[in-house]
Structure formats: C-alpha cells, structure tokens
Symmetry: C2
Subunit: 429 residues, 2 copies
C-alpha cells in the first residue's frame, strides 16, 4: 500500500474508542487524513521508520498565552499579584503587534518541537498569532482576551473586537478556529458575560474563559453574588458544551454536577496551578463523570516551559496527591486527556486519535532512549517517562513539520532572535 506519508514499525497508541494499541504498527496518511492503521507493510512518498518509537496523536494544549514566552524567566518566586502588577501588566500595556508575533512564533517553535499539534490561546493582537500559526503549520483555537473590569464602555469595545476577530478568523486556512475570550469571573460582570453568551450564539463560536482559579476570587464572587461562579453562570444560561473553562479548581459538588450536566469542558493546568499556589483541581472526578477534560500548560510566565508531556507527569502525580489515592488518574486516562480528550474539549471532533478518516495529526516519540526502557506499557512510558524533548517527528494534516527533531516550517535561529529582541524591548536586558 502506498500513501503520501507512511509510518512503519511503531508502537501505535490509536486513542480510538477501543484504545487499541498496535506493536509493530503502521500508519498510512493520504490527503491530510489517516487512511490506514494496521500491521501491513506501508510505503509512501515520505516514510518514517518508527521502530522502537511510540506513535500517538498530536498533543492538544488546552490553555495557554503563547506570546508570554517574552516574559519567560523574567521574575521568579513571587506572589501572583505582585508579579502581575509589577512585571506583567505594565509591559503588556506597552505591547505592540510585533511583540506578540515574535513571542507567539517562539511559542509555536517550542510547542511543535515538543509534540503539540494544536493549542488553545487566550491573549491580545490575535491576528498576529493567527499569522504565526499559519506559518508554523500548527493548528490553534484563538480568542481575543476581553477584560471588562466592570466598565460597560470598556466591555462593549472588548466584545466588539473579540467578536470581530472570532468572526473573521473562524476556519481560517482550515487550521484555525476561534472563540470569545472573556477573562474571568472576577474581572467581568454577569451582565457582560450574558452579552458574550449572546454573541457566541450569534457567531456560532465557543467561549474560552478562566474560572474558579483562586479561592479568594471565588469567595469574593460569592460575597458579591450570593452563589458560586458556576451557579451564577448557569443561571444566565452561559454554560453550554461550547465553553472551555481554564483551571476550574475551587468547585463544590453542585458546581461539578452542573458542569457535567451542561457538558462544559475544562482545561487542567497542573504546573501553573502549583506554581502560583492555586490548588488542585478535581480532575479525576471530572473524568469519572465523563466530562471533557484537556491538559494545558498555561502561559510560559507561570510554567515556564510549554512542555505538555512533562506537565502530563506532573498532572497525573498531582491527582494522586489530591485524592491520596494511587489509582487516581491512571495512565490511559492521562494520555487520553492530553490527546483525544483535549481535542474534544476544544470541540475538534476530527483529531486526537489515529483512526481512518481522522485528520493526520500524529507525533513520534523517541522511546528508544534509556529513560523509557523497558517500555512495557506505552501509556506509562508516555505519561511518566517522556518529556517534550523526546519528540522526534510531528505531522499535522499530513504535513511533516518536525523531522528527526528538526523544525521544517519555522527557522529556529531567526525565531529565537526576534523573540529575544522583543523581550528585551519590553523588559530590558
């Protein structure tokens, strides 16, 4: 059998409904889609020998602020408020489109080099990010951040810009989807969030929002509104299956039940949650309730890398600690969350598993390294032994954008140089 791209001899984690694993498996890709998965001999215009390597769906990063690579390693070990007020916000106020372009391009280079094929981004000047996503060959769900700050005029303008971006870039180049991006329950009024809901319905796009990230913000919300953020959002009809909530840490049992009933998706961001001392999300329960939970790195400011495989280990460990139960978030569920679960959380039904008819978003991990041996369980290897640096090949829509660890779309040297220039311009040396 001959294909556009043929992957041979891999340990294939299909992440399909039956969680089929093929040792010595082949994948055939035609017209950007998976067209064969099995054990037959495959040939192709392009061939990838995956002997000893794990072949799996591309990773989905469900929550980040890509351009914040510019703030990477800038200040460390500070309270979140101080970090935001003294380091981030004054610089963000001075940001120009070229800063965002340079920062997002570095993020794309880093993400595609570490196995991420699609990311869900929440920031400013998003048309710049769209351009970079196109250049990189990646996929992304983008939204313009809307920070109302309980100011009606500011809210109106933010919603106008957010909706304009979402309308214009929806489906752009076939690899970009859009959402509306209200910031959080503590920075947006319920009136504003109602308008966001209406606009999302009108446009037919989803909503990407931070929620219940810090306990003090949730408590403050309850004091002001008499109910929890989830209950308040439910009352105004905000919660539907097109919503993805970042963090969703401080939830009571009713909140959890409401989110499950409304089929709301959640992005679990374990590293960021630990780093800025927010707490431990109830992810194991969410998954048991059948919720769509994806994994997110959050921005490089609170991580500091964009390494979803590394975060997968931290995320699984954190759930075990959360419940003091070693059976919490088992490896199969963990890998699902980072791939198919993430895709579903973003409403992308045609990616996240390796199955005929799905888009060909596939990565190859170099599991021949000592750190993986003996492999025994490829789910375990992917969850507990891997890091992004072990990514060897990345294919998106059938196009090889990382080959033998070498980026094929973005120029690494130029990308890094420009980002460092932009970073220096904002922060100084």
């Amino acid at each position: 059998m001959r294909f556009d791209v043929a992957i041979r001899n891999g340990i294939v984690l299909t992440m399909d409904e039956s969680m089929r694993v093929l040792w010595g498996g082949s994948v055939g890709i035609e017209d950007g889609k998976i067209s064969y998965v099995g054990r037959d001999e495959v040939r192709g215009e392009e061939e990838i020998d995956a002997r000893g390597c794990v072949v799996m769906p591309g990773l989905i990063n469900c929550h980040t602020h890509a351009a914040m690579t510019l703030f990477r390693n800038a200040v460390e070990d500070q309270p979140l408020e101080k970090w935001l007020k003294e380091t981030i916000w004054p610089r963000e106020a001075r940001m120009k489109p070229w800063h965002v372009r340079a920062g997002a391009r570095l993020a794309c280079l880093e993400m595609l080099s570490s196995g991420i094929t699609c990311f869900n981004d929440h920031y400013f000047f998003m048309e710049e990010v769209a351009g970079v996503v196109d250049e990189s060959g990646m996929k992304a769900v983008l939204c313009e951040a809307m920070i109302e700050l309980f100011d009606e005029e500011r809210g109106r303008e933010a919603l106008r810009r957010g909706a304009e971006f979402a309308g214009r870039y929806r489906g752009w180049r076939g690899r970009i989807w859009t959402m509306l991006g209200p910031h959080a329950e503590y920075s947006c009024s319920l009136e504003f969030l109602s308008k966001v809901r209406e606009e999302a319905d009108r446009l037919g796009v989803g909503i990407h929002m931070h929620l219940a990230e810090s306990r003090p913000h949730v408590e403050e919300f309850v004091r002001r509104n008499g109910v929890s953020p989830v209950k308040a959002l439910d009352r105004i009809g905000f919660l539907k299956s097109d919503v993805i909530l970042a963090h969703a840490i401080h939830l009571d049992d009713d909140d959890l039940r409401i989110l499950a009933e409304r089929d709301v998706a959640v992005s679990y961001n374990p590293v960021s949650n630990m780093k800025v001392c927010l707490g431990m999300a109830r992810v194991d329960e969410m998954l048991r309730m059948g919720m769509r939970v994806g994994l997110g790195t959050d921005g490089p400011g609170t991580n500091n890398s964009l390494d979803l495989l590394q975060d997968l280990k931290t995320g699984a460990l954190l759930q075990k600690l959360r419940y003091m139960d070693p059976t919490a978030l088992p490896v199969e569920k963990a890998v699902w969350m980072a791939t198919r679960g993430g895709a579903l959380a973003l409403g992308l039904r045609d990616t996240g598993s390796i199955k005929p008819g799905m888009r060909a978003d596939v990565i190859v991990l170099d599991t021949r390294k000592p750190r993986y041996r003996p492999i025994r369980s490829p789910y375990t290897a992917a969850t507990y032994c891997s890091t992004g640096s072990d990514t060897r090949d990345v294919i998106i829509d059938g196009r090889i954008i990382l080959r033998d660890g070498q980026p094929q779309t973005l120029d690494p040297e130029k990308t890094i140089q420009e980002a460092e220039k932009a970073s220096q311009d904002l922060l100084g040396e």
Copy 2:
C-alpha cells in the same frame, strides 16, 4: 592557558559560596580537578564550546534503587502495598547478581545521559552495582539494604553482609563511597538500629535509611514506642551528621529541630512521594534551618524515570503547593539542593560546585533550545525549563563521559538489551 579539558563561553553556575554566575565563562580542568574558573581564553587537550549553554556542577541523586529499572513501567496506578507484595517482592526474592548488574547498568546509562554524576543507592548485590559504577565512570555512594524484620538472626546476618560490603568498597577506585543501609523504622527494631550505629562508628561510614515516609507507619511506630521515629532514634544516639534520611515527610516541629541540631541530611524525593501518595516533605523549612537537603529520584519503580532535572521542577512546585506560598523553595535554593546541597548531604565535600580545587564534576545543558529562551536567569532555566534530555556533556573527575549527548563509557544498545533480558527473566514479556 592550557588544560586537560577546557570549557568555553558558557553560562557558568558555580554554586560556590557566593553563588557566582559567569556569563561567557570558561572552566579549565587539570588532573581531574577544577583548576580555573573565569572569563579568560582557555584551551585544552579536549575542548567544549558551551556557547549559549548552562555549565553547572553535576547533579547528585541522593536516593535511588538503581537496579529497579528492571521493574520500570511493569505495573501502574496501584496502591504501594499491593505493588510491593504482588509485583516487586516475589521478583526481588528471585533476583540474581546478573539481574542487578544489568538493571544498575541501565540506570547508570540513563543517569549519566541526564546529567547525574553521582548517586546514592540502596539495594542488594551491591558489589555488582560497584562494578557498573566503575565501568560507567560515575560516582556513587552505595549501601547493602538491611531488612531485619524484627528477626535477630536475620538482622545479624544482614549487618554482617552490609558491614562487609561497606568495609571492602569504601573508597574503591576513588569514586565509590559506602554506607550502612538499614531499611526503615517500620522494618528494623531499635535494638538493631543501635547495632547499625555502632558498626557505622567502628567502620567510619555513614548510614542511609528510609524514615517517616508514610503516615500509617509513623503512627504505628508511635503506638509501639511512645515517641516519634526521630525522637526514638535520637535517644539511642543514632542521629549524627553521617546519616542521610530518605523522605522524612511526617515530622513534627520537634523532630525537625532535632534533625537540624544533629546535622542529619535528608533526601527529598518529590515524584515518588506524590506517586505513592505519601505527602509533602517540609523541605523549605529544612533549608531555612540550614539543613543539608539533597534531591532524589527514588527508584524507577515509583518515578518512572531517573531524571533529576525534571524532578527538580516538580520538587520546587510541590514546595510552593505545600506551603501555599509562591516564595517557597526559590530557584537558587532548588539548584543548590540538586548539586552542592546533595554533595554535602552525602558527605562529599570536594564536589557539587565549580571552584578551583574541587573535583571536576561538571555538566553542560543545551539551553539553546526554544524551551529555554530567553534564558534571563540560568537558575530559573535549570529549575523550570530543563529536563535530563537536554544534557549535552557530562564530565566526571575531568573525564568526558557524555559528549554531544553520546555516552562515552557504556554501550547504549548492549546495556539496554541486557537490562531488557534481565527484566523479562523476572517479569515475563
């Protein structure tokens, strides 16, 4: 200036008393020791261009069971007791020296490939491990595990073997040190531990022991003995500066004060502690009290990799979560713990910092990758952006044992093959 080995143009984290950082720094190595650190031009028989890379002391892995690579990825997401009783103990009972040799050699290959220059090992058939350490060019502190199980005869025999090993291999090849290895407070009687203390004093070696790892074991100990494990050990004169305790999680304030007063060292093993749901050690407090705390991977069975750089991130994050304080375990302290702190915790005064006169145990991290950029703070880069897979060069006692990511001492293919054969022999396919 001409040396045996010259490292040029690096970002040098000296980890010396003044925590000096040199951008564009050079290191000259002569006769296995650091003989120059500065910014002058250096030349050497062997030269390493470290432009854009972080040059730092080799990592010290303060607690592991190296040969347990054989059990890597064997069973996942199980309670510790079940895992030990059903998977590990029956296999360990069948272990032969060749199994341990093969497993430990794979561990050495993995550790040296990820920047670890010295490890503190607690297992069986330790003469095999000593042989492999010698082959690999690494350094190690080794002890024969002594599990008394409150059986006097068994204890006597264990102590005889442990002492014999410690006496024979102490100082072997100039790169191996030994300790006595009583297992834990729940598997050894105080009478036995008194004898271990006497024997350690007689031989002039230290003691490496698990302590206060799980709450139920500590509570059981208190029920039996009326006081905490630390207080009981202190009463029998066990606690001296030559003791390193693995885990030391469940300590009250008095325990902590006693450990600090007795200058006892601790190995913090964050990944293992999360994975088997043991809890969060009081590391930030220990460091503030001036205690010698090192970082450990623990065995591959409960980790599953031996990647101290990856664990450094998890360990720093876990301290922030432990105290809900973003200033807990700042990056300088974190890197100190993984290098100089670890060396001091093992009683090795001549390694762990890059300073004239110290042994030349040095690693180069490839921080030119996108995930590190902009670097800004090399402490932050090492703590939050790095993983073992980014290690480029490793030098031990002035000998280059990893060069451009290629191991120079152990044969990767043969090492992996033999370990997989040994693993299959114990566990089946």
